[in-house]
Amino acid sequence: MSYEPTIVAFLCNWCSYTGADLAGTSRMKYASNVRIIRVMCSGRVDPTFVLSAFKEGADGVLICGCHPGDCHYHEGNYKCLRRYHLLQKYFQQMGLDKDRLRLEWISASEGRQFAELVDSYTETVKNLGPCKMKQVIETLT
């Protein structure tokens, strides 16, 4: 079976999760590598979740939030953006390609954009190859 990446996606309830639902109701087709977790706001996504996803064997983590200015809670997405940049720098130091973590803005009406994002990000992660993090952790202990 050729390598199929597994991607954990954190979607904010008001914008990107609704956008993903819209992609569903419009019967758009996209890659099935993404597993979606609903959070109330992208600001809720704690770096611990991202690290834990990689520890559990995820090959990529996708965080989607509302476009700046559209956040249902006004500023949650900005907080997420700040953490995203720091996390990416930390990833590079830990030998993880910074593309393994991706933050994108998806609004409630952007079903198509979500479907295309999933396909393109799956491709990106596939090109990066499987993430060795889980395997390293297991051989360590």
């Binding site: 019967r27 758009m28 099935s32 977790i37 809720r44 834990s52 559990e56 249902h72 006004h74």
Partner: protein, 580 residues
């Protein structure tokens, strides 16, 4: 966490919507093997009454304390199933949904892969629900007063509807008079009623209705609180600050006309006789249609879709300009019988009641209808040479005849688009409403719930939600009024309970969280030296939970433990299954 959990898992067929792409029977069987899962069933329609009865029966028989339903999106049926749990005497928050329809069966093509993904999502839900705790709904009283932002036709109609039913209204208008755009309109389509005859009596009713308090020249800056208990401070024209308390908000802030100066093809601002539809309405109200030079125009051209239905300006259709243009043609024809009238249009949109007949009747009044390509070839207006005996010439390729034509015009009326107000974003932030790309307010559901918003107690009506004509605006205003009167009648409303809570044994008082909260729900308790969350203001976004370096803030129903275990569940099955 030691006591044993009894979880019931239900995998829905949703007719064929899920079952066609996901092997629901296999999912149920596989999930049945997970720890703490007492029963795992698949069923045709979980959301149907028999489906819900199945859950209630199982809860009682197997004394389940947690229920997982994997079916459609929680945004659709989470409330339905929570009510079912409540009926069975179980706390509604001991429930979790796995979305295997919108986010699995409808969007994937490989049945094996879809089934595997469904299993991992359900396993994740099962893992998550082991950490769920019961939360009790909070109900709050409703302040029967209502604040309405915007004194246009929508705002006035809503104010009267509620005011006449004996409830208090605060009507906030940023201009110095009520009426909004309708005040600047002469007649209304399609039956040519006079706008003033509609508006003046309504305004009179508003001003002498004791329940309606009008604040002119006033803008909103910040609204605090939540459904039933909002408050704000406003400074009306005369400067002294007024504190308002109210239970619901209706946003009727309306729209603003598009400034056509941005389209250089039309030369608005450079060519004196190129005017907007509003300026033409003023002329009609004064009863004299004359060019800037004071002469009666021999040729009048009306250009549609100015700033609408074009990527570079606004992609949406502003809905009311076509009928307004036809109204202008009728008024022009009766005012200036032998003037040449040209309607340069992209498509005539006459969808309203009586409008198609209005269009048919207008086109028989010897009015020349010329079609131009709205997307890539907007008409160009230029000064005519003296020998053309008209002030301006409009050039474009007329689509119906395929000819490149020059339309003579002494006056050009631009049917300008309608766009969001400048202060639309401030009002949105003040009342906590989200906006779409065109800065119109987003309704709770475009089809099923067009006047409410995702923020309880805040309603959006009229133009500010998207361009619409008078009857639609009034009906939306009345709909919102009816919804509010209904909630006031009940007197209480349930409030979000998935709020954040600070564990005071761990919080070290570093105060990193205090300014993170957009609703200032977190404050620092000096004596105890810890932060405290005002659950009344907290809207449950969870940002403070992930900011707290000590991990002392727990976001109820979205705790770290719940999500971490959900991640574990998500990854556990997918890896094993991949190897199998």
């Amino acid at each position: 966490m030691e006591e044993e959990k009894r979880i019931g898992v239900y995998v829905c067929w949703c007719g064929t919507n899920i079952a066609k792409m996901v092997d629901v029977v296999d999912v149920a069987k596989e999930i049945g093997k997970l720890p703490n899962v007492v029963i795992a069933k698949d069923y045709k329609y979980m959301c149907s009454d028999p489906g819900q009865e199945l859950i209630i029966k199982d809860i009682k028989e197997h004394n389940l304390d947690r229920v997982v339903v994997s079916a459609c999106s929680p945004r659709i049926h989470e409330l339905t199933f929570r009510k079912a749990l409540q009926n069975a005497g179980l706390n509604p928050y001991m429930f979790e949904m796995a979305n295997i329809r919108e986010q699995v069966s409808w969007v994937h093509t490989d049945r094996g892969e879809a089934t595997r993904k469904a299993k991992s999502l359900v396993a994740a839900a099962v893992n998550r629900i082991t950490w769920h705790e019961s939360l009790d709904k909070r109900t709050v009283d409703i302040n029967p007063a209502t604040m309405i932002i915007g004194g246009g036709i929508a705002g006035i109609s809503a104010a009267l509807e509620i005011g006449n039913s004996g409830r208090k209204i605060f009507l906030i208008e940023k201009e110095n008079k009520l009426g909004g755009h309708l005040a600047g309109v002469d007649l209304t389509f399609p039956y040519m009623y006079s706008a003033d005859q509609i508006l003046k009596p309504l305004i009179k009713q508003v001003t002498n209705n004791p329940n309606i308090e009008v604040f002119l020249n006033t803008q909103i800056d910040e609204v605090f609180g939540y459904v039933g208990n909002f408050e704000t401070k406003i400074t009306p024209g005369d400067g002294k600050e007024v504190e308002l308390k109210f239970g619901n908000v209706i946003v009727a802030s309306g729209l603003k006309p598009y400034d056509p100066g941005g389209i250089e093809n039309y030369g608005y601002g450079k060519l004196p006789n190129v005017i907007t539809s509003l300026e033409f309405e003023q002329m009609l109200k004064k009863g004299k249609i004359v060019t800037k030079e004071g002469a009666e125009p021999k040729n009048v051209a009306i250009i549609h879709c100015v700033g609408s239905r074009n990527k570079d300006y606004h992609e949406y259709c502003s809905r009311i300009c076509c009928m307004t243009a036809l109204k202008f043609s009728n008024q022009l024809r009766s005012a200036l019988p032998d003037t040449n009238i040209f309607e340069c249009y992209a498509d005539i949109r006459s969808f309203g009641k009586g409008c198609e007949e209005f269009y048919a009747q207008t086109s028989r009044k010897d009015i020349m209808f010329l079609m131009f390509d709205q997307k890539n070839d907007l008409p160009r207006i230029r000064k005519a040479e003296t020998m053309d005996e008209c002030d301006m010439l409009i050039e474009f390729n007329e689509l119906l005849s395929g000819e490149d034509i020059e339309v003579p015009a002494d006056m050009v009326v631009l049917m300008v688009a309608l766009e969001a107000q400048e202060n639309a974003r401030d009002i949105a932030h003040a009342v906590g409403v989200s906006m779409c790309g065109n800065e119109f307010y987003i309704e709770r559901h475009p089809k099923l719930d067009p006047v409410a918003t995702t923020t309880d107690g805040v309603y959006v009506v009229g133009g500010c939600q998207s361009p619409k004509d008078i009857p639609d605006s009034i009906s939306q205003a009345r709909a919102a009024a009816a919804r509010i009167l209904a909630t006031i009648n009940i007197g209480q409303v349930e409030v979000e309970v998935t709020t954040a809570v600070v564990n005071e044994d761990i919080c070290c008082g570093c105060q990193t969280c205090v300014n993170v909260c957009p609703y200032t729900a977190i404050s620092f308790d000096e004596e105890k030296g810890v932060s405290v969350v005002n659950e009344v203001l907290c809207k449950g976004c969870g940002t403070c939970g992930s900011t707290c370096p000590t991990g002392a803030i727990r976001s109820r129903h979205f705790t770290d433990k719940q999500i971490l275990s959900q991640i574990e569940g998500l990854m556990s099955t997918s890896i094993e299954l991949q190897e199998v």
